[in-house]
Symmetry: C2
Subunit: 364 residues, 2 copies
């Protein structure tokens, strides 16, 4: 059986199995009995069982070993009543397939920068099923284990964010090289972004064919741009990646777009083509709902630092956030950014309980 066929079949059957899940119904703006909740980086360093495995394997080995990625994906699901799992992976996983290796020290460090037209022309746009087969394999292992209990979210970095890593060769304070290229030479930027969009679409497609129930793009660095540049360089390429991935598999799943520091252009985030927009804590949840309007579900947006507070305060703030949401508009609870490594695991239990309690009470 060719991999693509097997993947598609598995994907369809699992998507069908999970389609009644609270999280997926909330993403589709169906009426839900309570607010679903999951946590960005829920499989991560704050968990002692993660740190125990981390003593024996490095981060890239985690990403590239299906059994380990699956185990890490499932760790928080075993411990907490989460409404979605998210594959353990990294937003930069498409890059090696494009021809640029990535190391984590612990921040991402690329083997070279990609700033010139000729360097961009040399980038490959791989078939992610061949370039990163371990991702699909991890998805299949997770779905077998989950058995439809909760849906599984697949993800990648959004095209602009991948492009900015390629240009800078890693993280950056001011993204001077990215902006220099994008401001001076939009045609070359388009070439780079197009290749990134194709690589991202292929990655999402591979995850869909392996069976994820929703797809998410993290546009971690879109927030460094002026709104006009977001509209020009970030959103259209995120939309293209989503659309090409879903067109390739031929069925729909919820699309989630996350961008921090997006309060200056929140309405525009709809142009990512996502039905769910993740926002950080720098904007009030009800204002985000109002600005994004009735067709978009807002995902977020508790400040991750709240989880470092005493448990009573965690409960109080989570409840206040859930109650601040407009019940006529959609809401998926999450943090406004990834959970901090120093978070006490018991705070997450209190948090999820508080979200559940506060949102159940609201249902008439």
């Amino acid at each position: 059986v060719p991999l693509s066929l097997l993947g598609t079949t598995t994907g369809r059957s699992l998507a069908a199995r999970a389609s009644d899940a609270l999280f997926l119904r909330a993403c589709r703006r169906e009426t839900v009995e309570r607010t679903p909740a999951w946590i960005m980086r829920q499989a991560g360093r704050y968990l002692p069982e993660y740190r125990a495995l981390r003593e024996r394997h490095d981060f890239l080995t985690f990403c590239r070993t299906p059994e380990l990625a699956a185990e890490l994906t499932l760790q928080p699901i075993r411990r907490y009543p989460l409404d979605a799992a998210i594959l353990f992976s990294d937003i930069l996983i498409p890059l090696p397939g494009m021809g640029v290796e990535v190391a984590f020290e612990p921040g991402p460090k690329l083997e070279r920068t990609t700033r010139t037209r000729s360097a961009i022309l040399e980038l490959r746009t791989p078939d992610a099923r061949e370039a990163a087969p371990y991702v699909g394999e991890a998805v299949r292992l997770v779905q077998r284990e989950l058995g439809g209990r909760v849906p599984l979210i697949g993800f990648a970095g959004a095209p602009f964010t991948l492009a900015s890593y390629l240009v800078e060769g890693g993280g950056s304070k001011n993204f001077e090289h990215t902006k220099a290229l994008f401001y001076d030479d939009p045609e070359t930027a388009d070439l780079l972004l197009g290749k990134c969009a194709d690589a991202v679409a292929s990655s999402l497609r591979a995850q869909l064919e392996a069976g994820v129930d929703a797809v998410m793009l993290f546009d971690s660095w879109a927030g460094i741009l002026p709104p006009a540049a977001v509209r020009r360089f970030a959103l259209p390429f995120a939309r293209r990646a989503f659309e090409n991935a879903l067109a390739a598999v031929g069925y729909e799943v919820p699309r989630i777009y996350y961008a921090g520091q997006a309060a200056g252009w929140l309405e525009d985030a709809r142009d990512s083509g996502a039905q769910v927009v993740g926002v950080d804590w720098r904007v009030d949840l009800d204002e985000a709902q109002r600005r994004l309007g009735p067709d978009v579900v807002v995902q977020g947006n508790l400040d991750p630092c709240v989880l470092l507070a005493p448990l009573d305060e965690v409960r109080r703030r989570a409840q206040a956030l859930v109650r601040s949401a407009d019940p006529r508009l959609g809401h998926v609870f999450n943090l406004g950014h990834g959970i901090l490594p120093g978070t006490p695991p018991e705070a997450v239990a209190v948090l999820l309980d508080a979200v559940r309690e506060a949102s159940q009470r609201r249902v008439p």
Copy 2:
């Protein structure tokens, strides 16, 4: 003659002399013949004459030596047709007077953290004229040299930003300790913020008495907070610092409040009590004007990375920004953040010329 009397007299006469200046008229929302322009960190590392002095003196010596601070303040004024000077100093200058020494390595490093109630109780609220007499002396030297040619802006860090530095002991990625203290124990946070507001007010007062023509608070870190926390912890204390400083001198000058990453709570920035609000490039200028309304002048907001582009592109983007402003609402041109050290000096000349040309053309 007591220092305070001397200062007040000097301040009044200079403020009167400069009151016709374009920049001050624009801050007061009077009709202006073109858009005034100055640049955050205009006295800084991008200038070869700054770097030449920097080879012989460290940053703190710059701040604490009136002759050097005055010389640095004047360097960009000699080179460019700027519409305002800003005193060469640092936002953390009030801290040593509060009892906490600061080193620059090059980022600020405080001698200790201030996180407990007892540590906060030990902070002093000094009279800045005695704690940092070199600041007033630098102001007097600059004003003597400027002779009313352009107005001089005095400044300090806003109370919340000073408080966050005190709690963290320096810069921070996530400001976990600040948020832990502020979220858990708002009364202790108030105590800290109150002391910071008093120290900031004293610093602004000392600068006013020495003769600055406008005062600015940089709330560099307010943007890390959720909007509700900005409203609770940042804005009221900025307002208190402004009001106490101006009440102490007994006359009005323009108050400028800068906060980056403020697009989630821009309307609220009016509650800082400032007539001029500086914004970063993460929000469209005309939207910032609309959201802040007719009583506030918007200052900003070109992405500093634009100055790294070819000169034609600098000109084009500066003109486009100036033209995007609603001419019925106030605008002071600036960057959205401090100028980058790698900026070519000739780009600043092109920038200022473009702003002048584009805004003059708009006047009927």
